[in-house]
């Protein structure tokens, strides 16, 4: 049984439709991320699951129970808000015990469970302090402890890491995933940060303008984008115009402007059928730059000129001109990076390309 089911959910605000007919099943125990830019409907969707917004149409079920008319306080959900939403006039322990009070948990047991929750988020000694006396990262952990101590059916996380600074964010990412694994709770996570989504999720739902663009495992969504939006939003991609000559065997032959004929494996072009115009997606890190005199080793190689170098330490991002095309390449730096103005050999492997039909 899936933990959360959305069926044909529509949310309208006046004339504006924030979510268009969305359906989704979230399996028990999984970590699902709603990913998209701001205004894509991801937070609206989360708030509808939470019961903070009513869907205009459609049905929401949690553990098989239709919850459209169940108010938020009876849905048994754990929510972590972007700004933590800790009660400033209550101590950390009182904050965590808040939900237990409404579940008629006896005092002694509540105390034990609060201590366990604090243990779980690795802050065993802060129970008597007030939220203001904690750092942002600590407040975040307390918000998480407060949400999970009530043993909710689903944990909803609304951009919980966005208020933290970069280093802390990465630590909390690992921490959050560890805790989720340990208690095995179904989690719906909302973020606009693709690296968070890729690192934490079992499944990513990429949204744009109120619609689901693609849903799948992180590698699937990253490696085989089904739409141009997904290709652009996750990582840095080069998108080439091309023409498909139709499939033959396991490959689809695609004629491109800059790289000539590329035989893309059929598994990398699942949405393609027949011939016609296509988009060819090549990840920036799959575009290899090499010195022109080296052996291409079976790769497709064309000559290009480095226009801009964005040095990043262990890697560099290059903007390269190949004929009329401007391409991006992110390469690890071996020895020292290429310089602006260098002529390089730009190389790709057909299996690193993904082909999409021309915009729907």
């Amino acid at each position: 049984m899936s933990a959360v089911t959305l069926k044909d959910i529509v949310k309208r605000f006046g004339d504006f439709t924030a979510v268009h007919r969305m359906s989704m099943e979230i399996p028990e125990g999984s970590f699902v991320t709603l990913l998209g830019p701001s205004g894509c409907g991801k937070t609206t969707t989360l708030r509808m699951i939470a019961g903070l917004l009513d869907p205009s149409e459609g049905e929401i079920s949690i553990k098989g129970r239709r919850v459209n008319d169940v108010p938020i306080h009876k849905r048994n959900l754990g929510i972590v808000f972007q700004n933590y939403a800790l009660f400033p006039h209550k101590t950390v322990a009182e904050n965590i015990a808040f939900g237990l009070k409404y579940r008629d948990v006896p005092k002694e047991e509540a105390k034990k469970r609060v201590a366990q929750a604090l243990e779980l988020v690795q802050l065993p000694d802060v129970g008597d302090r007030y939220p203001k006396q904690l750092s942002g990262g600590q407040q975040q952990r307390i918000a998480l402890a407060r949400a999970i101590v009530i043993e909710p059916d689903v944990l909803l996380l609304d951009e919980p890491l966005s208020a933290l600074d970069a280093n802390l964010r990465e630590d909390m990412r690992v921490e959050l995933k560890r805790i989720q694994h340990r208690i095995g709770i179904t989690t719906v996570f909302v973020t606009h940060d693709q690296s968070e989504a890729l690192a934490m999720s079992d499944r990513i739902v990429v949204m744009s303008q109120g619609r689901v663009e693609q849903a799948g495992a992180p590698e699937e969504v990253y490696n085989t984008p089904e739409t141009e939006f997904v290709a652009q939003f996750l990582g840095s991609s080069n998108i080439l115009e091309g023409t498909s000559n139709g499939a033959s065997g396991d490959e689809v032959a695609i004629e491109t402007a800059g790289f000539g004929l590329i035989a893309v494996p059929k598994s990398r072009a699942p949405k393609l059928n027949g011939s016609g115009p296509v988009k060819l997606v090549i990840r920036a890190e799959k575009l290899h730059l090499a010195k022109p005199e080296t052996d291409p080793d079976g790769q497709i190689a064309v000559d290009g000129v480095v226009e801009t170098v964005d040095y990043q330490g262990q890697a560099a991002r290059y903007f390269v001109r190949v004929g009329d095309l401007q391409l991006q390449a992110i390469n690890m730096i071996d020895d020292h990076p290429f310089n602006e103005g260098d002529t390089v050999s730009v190389r790709i492997r057909p299996r690193d390309c993904a082909a999409l039909p021309e915009a729907r």
Binding site: A50, G51, L52, P71, I72, H73, K74, R75, N76, L77, G78, I79, F81, N83, A85, L86, F87, P88, H89, F98, G99, K101, Y102, R103, R146, A147, I150
Partner: protein
């Protein structure tokens, strides 16, 4: 002069006009009043300078003054409670309304554009014997004779509530504005109903604003003499009316000074108690 020295001096330079005004217009006259309160009014009507405790003796021991002081505190207290009960929901509504806050706040400020005395006197046109209310009741045939509704304690409280309600609403509004709305969402997600989450989260967090509004209502209410003068009956005098009576009617400045210092001491003590528990910062927020 070094930058540090200039920076250290700057607050005093900027404050000096205001400080001068406060010193000359508040503390100097206050000192006069303190001095006056120890003078004595002789049978001829002239004031005799000196150090006499007669006024203080009369003000502090005569049960007449004590009773009116207690009555004043009672009326101010009732007014404050009524303002809190009426003002809190209004403030909550404004704070949680989307979009048209500015208009609602403007409406709240609107009464301040009309003199407080005129606003007080407007009740005569509403509740007076030939006022709107009586006329309406007469023409509807509900009563056959005009009813005297004015000039009692209730109308004094009515007038004070009318005067002070905006102060309460503004103070509560400011503290509600500072409370994150997601706190209530969080409480609900943990199992509290909307009402319970209001009681457990929003209400306690807005108490400083309620207290600041309460203090303002109480102090301003207890110090007023116009409302009881205009809307009260002969027995509804409040303490400030006694001061007015002594100084303006009887020209007994020494006694009037002693009485006004007495009221100042009682209300000042209240402010000090408030300051001890809540601090002045909240009050400043509400006034700003």
């Amino acid at each position: 002069m070094s930058v540090e020295a200039r920076e250290a001096r700057q607050p005093w330079v900027l404050l000096s006009p205001a400080l001068t005004a406060v010193l000359l217009l508040l503390f100097v006259p206050l000192a006069f009043i303190v001095v006056y309160s120890f003078w004595l009014r002789t049978a001829t009507g002239a004031d005799q300078a000196g150090f006499y405790l007669d006024n203080w003796n009369e003000a502090l021991t005569d049960p007449f003054y004590r009773d009116i002081l207690l009555n004043t505190l009672k009326i101010a207290g009732i007014t404050t409670v009524v303002c809190a009960l009426m003002g809190y929901p209004a403030a909550y509504f404004i704070a949680r309304s989307k979009g048209n806050k500015v208009i609602l706040l403007l409406l709240l400020m609107l009464p301040f554009w009309i003199s407080y005395i005129i606003r007080t006197m407007s009740w005569i046109n509403i509740l007076g014997v030939s006022g709107a209310f009586n006329t309406a009741l007469l023409s509807l045939g509900i009563i056959s004779e005009p009813v005297q509704m004015l000039y009692n304690e209730t109308t004094v409280i009515l007038g004070l509530v009318h005067f002070l309600l905006p102060f309460m609403v503004l103070n509560v509004y400011v503290s509600l504005e500072g409370i994150d709305e997601t706190l209530e969402d969080a409480a609900c997600s943990l199992g509290a109903t909307r009402w319970k989450s209001f009681l457990e989260i929003t209400l306690p967090l807005s108490l400083p604003g309620l207290a600041a509004g309460g203090l303002l209502c109480f102090v301003l209410g207890a110090g007023t003499y116009i409302t009881p003068l205009v809307l009260g009956g002969p027995t509804d005098a409040m303490f400030a009316n006694l001061v007015f009576e002594a100084i303006i009617t009887q020209l007994d400045w020494p006694l009037g000074s002693a009485l006004s210092l007495m009221l100042l001491a009682v209300l000042g003590a209240l402010v000090l108690i408030y300051n001890h528990y809540l601090g002045m910062a909240q009050l400043m927020k509400g006034l700003g």
